[in-house]
Symmetry: C2
Subunit: 420 residues, 2 copies
Amino acid sequence: MPDPHVVIVGGGFGGLYTARNLKDVPVRVTMVDRHNYHLFQPLLYQVATAGLNPSDIATPIRGIVRKQANVNVLLGDVVSIDTSKKSIALTDGASLAYDYLVLATGATHSYFGHPEWEAIAPGLKTIDDALDIRRRVLLAFEAAERETDPKKQEALLTFVVIGAGPTGAEMAGALSEIARQTMLRDFRRIDPSSARVILLEGKDRVLPPYPPDLSEKARQQLVRLGVEVITNAIVTDVTTDHVSIGERTIATRTVVWAAGVAASPLAQTLGVPLDRAGRVLVEPDLTIPGHKDVFVIGDLAAVRMRGEQWVPGVAPAAIQEGQHTAMNLERAVDGQPLRAFRYNDKGSLATIGRAAAVADFGRFKLSGFLAWFAWLAIHIFFLIGFRNRFLVITQWAWAYLTYQRGARLITGRTSTERSP
Amino acid sequence: MPDPHVVIVGGGFGGLYTARNLKDVPVRVTMVDRHNYHLFQPLLYQVATAGLNPSDIATPIRGIVRKQANVNVLLGDVVSIDTSKKSIALTDGASLAYDYLVLATGATHSYFGHPEWEAIAPGLKTIDDALDIRRRVLLAFEAAERETDPKKQEALLTFVVIGAGPTGAEMAGALSEIARQTMLRDFRRIDPSSARVILLEGKDRVLPPYPPDLSEKARQQLVRLGVEVITNAIVTDVTTDHVSIGERTIATRTVVWAAGVAASPLAQTLGVPLDRAGRVLVEPDLTIPGHKDVFVIGDLAAVRMRGEQWVPGVAPAAIQEGQHTAMNLERAVDGQPLRAFRYNDKGSLATIGRAAAVADFGRFKLSGFLAWFAWLAIHIFFLIGFRNRFLVITQWAWAYLTYQRGARLITGRTSTERSP
């Protein structure tokens, strides 16, 4: 009889750490992902702001698991799951049978019932998103350089980031740095340092999941970098030439969306209870109700910690859930009962810009250069693959010393391009 | 009175070297390009074959000329030239007046009267072309891994490169290396080293501009790398599932076009004689007949050397023409007569793969490792910008030692992707 077949959907932190920890377990593993790479999402904003190249933060999944003989990788997009037949369906009509299923397809952005805003204000979840945002930001400076109408020029040099969680705060800080440092002497007609970067947050402070004193430190660092922070700002409209917050209107041509989380729609095909964001309300052992052979982990899962607290949607949580699920799969194959998952909160870190960050390690808190250095070390440490780590250090050292951002390329079809 | 206005169209080698050599000349320079970057085209095939990142071989034009106060950069696409009114028209309706015009918009591929082949067999001229080819090649391996029909699998693992000039030979060698080394242990069902790479050439030998003995050496090195070379192969049809050479048919899903040269169509709006490839037949001083204020350089120009010999369409020629034109512009501003251009042929180099290349320095010829090393040194030396040079060396050293290609990412919208 062949070894049991474990199908893992999603090659993010959750899926990858499950697969790697099944190395010595007698199972056949198939990893399915719609992309051929594992993405280090915490640094995606660096690609969007031209600091890093896509391949610095992404590694082909096949390369990561090539030495693990029991893993098979499939490029494909899963459309639905049939838990009674124990099989998943792919977009091309093929299906894949499993003995155990691990769902780790993550989350995307929620536009709060305004799907029409997505085309105007892209979110930041994939490499293509990041390259799209990079292109829009760089093209806005180029268009401003050519614009003669001062009002239009001002709108072109106004960048709005919606949502002041870690991604939004990092984006805003990096955008402000680009305008005030990197681009400073690149243009002749416009003064890039006159660009406005506006960070909007619906709640009453930036980085809402952090303790209030760190939120305040983060706000001060953002302001020092030149970011205008507006809290209690409920966005009521997003169009191609402005963003509205109730009565107030901000003229802008470039909007980045970093608010709201919606779980991958695949969860809806499971037929189990979901929370408001579409996440699967999993059992303590991370399986779904009634199916001890289906695990849901990472941003797709709503995992209760204690009382009304939930495990946050961060990389360390997905990694721990992946490790735990691999251990539970080994127990299941062995005929032993599954164990409940317990989240070990090691703290949180958010960076805001050059030498600016905040860190919350529970017992102690950091901000400024020390927090930034801790952030740098931890993020480089977690990058998959030695090559990436080394190249990222090199590029960051270069960027830090010279204020240059090497990946300032506008690629992808643009309106100024015509076929020859 | 303001300094004379020099408009340079195209930020390739020709345009950039003209601008840089006008540093101390009392002129105002405007560089217009449809991309915001200068591209080191000789290494573009390395991006297409996942060896390098786009930003390793491309540098923002603004960054290159930022310290040169008399240069202005404009992102824009020129549609026509009016030599009587001394102005150029841009796609967005704007126009730009010049005192002197330097046209350096280069060349694209010619499909020999079969424009319908372009969508199936992309050429390799821009970063987007390279990323497109990279995506197609990597997706072909992924599709082969999923395919169960052996005939279809074989077609998916057959790669055809049309044209065995330097670009075609380099592409074929690199593709063969990817299949035989990089991808070797990445797949479980297919054997990537069973992939066929077929290089088609219409003439009777590879690298036709090189001496016959070097062509033969290059052919031997290609064969050693696993490339099937077919000469005297006139392609009669290119479809989504095969390439025809007369009666013979090759089943393939991935075709790269590296044959034929067609000058940028902008030349047609000048109203002066062009050669068969659409290049401008320039005067000995690189101006166009009847207009001493319009210079045409680089791949857009047909420059006679002596007798029936023409200056080749290579980077060193464009660089020398740019330097010469800057000198002539200085003379023109000074009221002195223009000087005729003389091409200084420093030799040619083509690489075929890991430690394989041929070099023709006139007095002596090289092949194998020494030629490859010379190629490496010269190409890195010519890369614009220290950062790129350093990163490219790092990435190459890593790739050389480990056989890995780090930029193996499939980006851009693909058929397996759906919006969430």
